[in-house]
Amino acid sequence: MTKLDYLTETPSQTAGPYVHIGLAPGAAGFDIYRQELGWDIAGPNAAGERIRVEGRVMDGTGSPIKDVLLEAWQANAAGVYAHPEGGGDVEEGFRGWGRVITDFATGEWGFDTVKPGATAGRNGSVQAPHITLWIVARGINIGLNTRLYFSDETEANANDPVINTIEWERRRQTLIAQRSKEDGKVVYRFDINIQGQDETVFFDV
């Protein structure tokens, strides 16, 4: 039997404990590149509410994982991604992509950005504002995809077609970042549980 001539995706391997050397060398302890990538998600010109997103990533024992690297991908406040098929133009300097690592001592991570707008779903539906997160670390064999939604978007979240594909309503809560104000700054808290009863919903994208 002849086979179709598609190629097959290269297999994933763990990013390992030293992912920082490649993707955030400053954190590994040395200075090599003119600029590291992923530190400025929104840029200076982006419209919308300035927010901070922070959290921890917990393992199956409930302990924070301290060697995680996360990447974020989001639309701007108008719901447009910085991409030729992103739905339009974005502000100069708006990238919508960021990269952050957890603190070696505490496991805390955080980044500053703008709150994204609603985006187009499939077949004319509307998706609630969200940030896509991709998580790699030692012990994670293939990157984990999840979505961060916002606690103050109650109605949009209730109508979000992706949230509504999750059969277990209790698990939907794992995707909602909790809004608070700290020193006048808007902060969303998003703790990720890799494993266990409160395991965060991860997607096969």
């Binding site: 598609y6 190629l7 097959t8 995706e9 290269t10 297999p11 994933s12 391997q13 763990t14 990013a15 404990p17 030293y18 920082h20 050397i21 490649g22 993707l23 060398p25 302890g29 090599i32 003119r34 600029q35 393992d59 199956g60 024992t61 060697d67 991908w73 639309a75 108008a78 719901g79 447009v80 991604y81 910085a82 098929e85 992103g86 739905g87 990238r95 919508g96 992509w97 187009a120 077949n123 509307v126 998706q127 969200h130 896509t132 991709w134 670390a137 012990g139 064999n141 293939i142 990157g143 984990l144 992706v162 594909t165 999750i166 890799i194 494993q195 919903v201 991860f202 997607f203 994208v205």
Partner: protein, 245 residues
């Protein structure tokens, strides 16, 4: 709000049998870092078919030369190698202008990382990371030194085969991939609990770089070839058009 006229053409479903499962007990760290519930299947939308793009403002030409990009007056110790190849998608089309980042141990098997305490010495002329963007044919290359094998804490006497970590973006965030490149003929490949998380022998072969004598620079640098395949994408499809592609 973004309003593409049609639901965008998707990337092909990821074939999970080609990848390690999350839970691989012989690689012990995965045991508490593996989700136990099923992944929720997500039909792709604009956020999944788009992804970050990188340009010449982001990186410098020297960034892909690990022999020179951290020099402190000399070259690093070790076997001089070129690692090159193409980034393709599952339709065998080149993926141009995409970011490829690598990191690795030095020739003695030691990482320049504050958490690595292996007794092999740091090389003062070796940082251990590089990055480049693919050309219009999906081609990329790095010059570096061959990394050494090193022991790691898993079972008492586990050793990693020589390897280079590789991170690739592709045209969309759905194609995002991190893997490791091994070197053809290394007897540690068959013994490594991390390599062996990949369930399929053919798949392991596809993360093994091949000696490429034709790309070797005589009397100077030996070469290995490593092609990377990212997920393919459907042609733009109109609803109700049965022939699809």
């Amino acid at each position: 709000m973004s309003t593409p006229a049609n639901t965008p053409a998707e990337y092909y479903q990821r074939d999970r049998k080609q990848h390690p499962p999350a839970f691989t007990p012989t690689y012990k760290t995965s045991v508490t870092r593996s989700p136990q519930y099923s992944l929720i299947s997500l039909e792709q939308t604009v956020g999944e078919i788009s992804g970050p793009r990188f340009g010449h403002n982001d990186i410098d030409p020297i960034d892909n030369d690990l022999i020179k990009n951290y020099t402190h007056g000399g070259d690093p110790i070790g076997e001089r190698i070129i690692v090159h190849g193409r980034v393709l998608d599952e339709n065998a089309r080149p993926v141009p202008n995409t970011l490829v980042e690598i990191w690795q141990a030095n020739a003695g098997g030691r990482y320049r990382h504050k958490k690595d305490t292996y007794l092999a010495p740091i090389d003062p002329n070796f940082g251990g990371c590089g990055r480049t963007t693919t050309d219009e044919n999906g081609g990329y290359f790095f010059r570096t030194v061959k990394p050494g094998a090193y022991p790691w804490r898993n079972m008492v006497n586990d050793w990693r085969p020589a390897h280079i970590h590789v991170s690739v973006f592709g045209a969309s965030f759905s194609q995002r991939l991190i893997t490791q490149l091994y070197f053809e003929g290394d007897p540690l490949i068959a013994k490594c609990p991390i390599v062996q998380t990949i369930p399929d022998a053919d798949a392991i072969d596809r993360v093994t770089a091949k000696l490429d004598m034709n790309a070797t620079i005589p009397l100077d640098t030996i070469a290995y070839r490593f092609d990377i395949v990212l997920r393919g994408r459907r042609s733009t499809m109109f609803e109700n058009r049965l022939e699809g592609n």
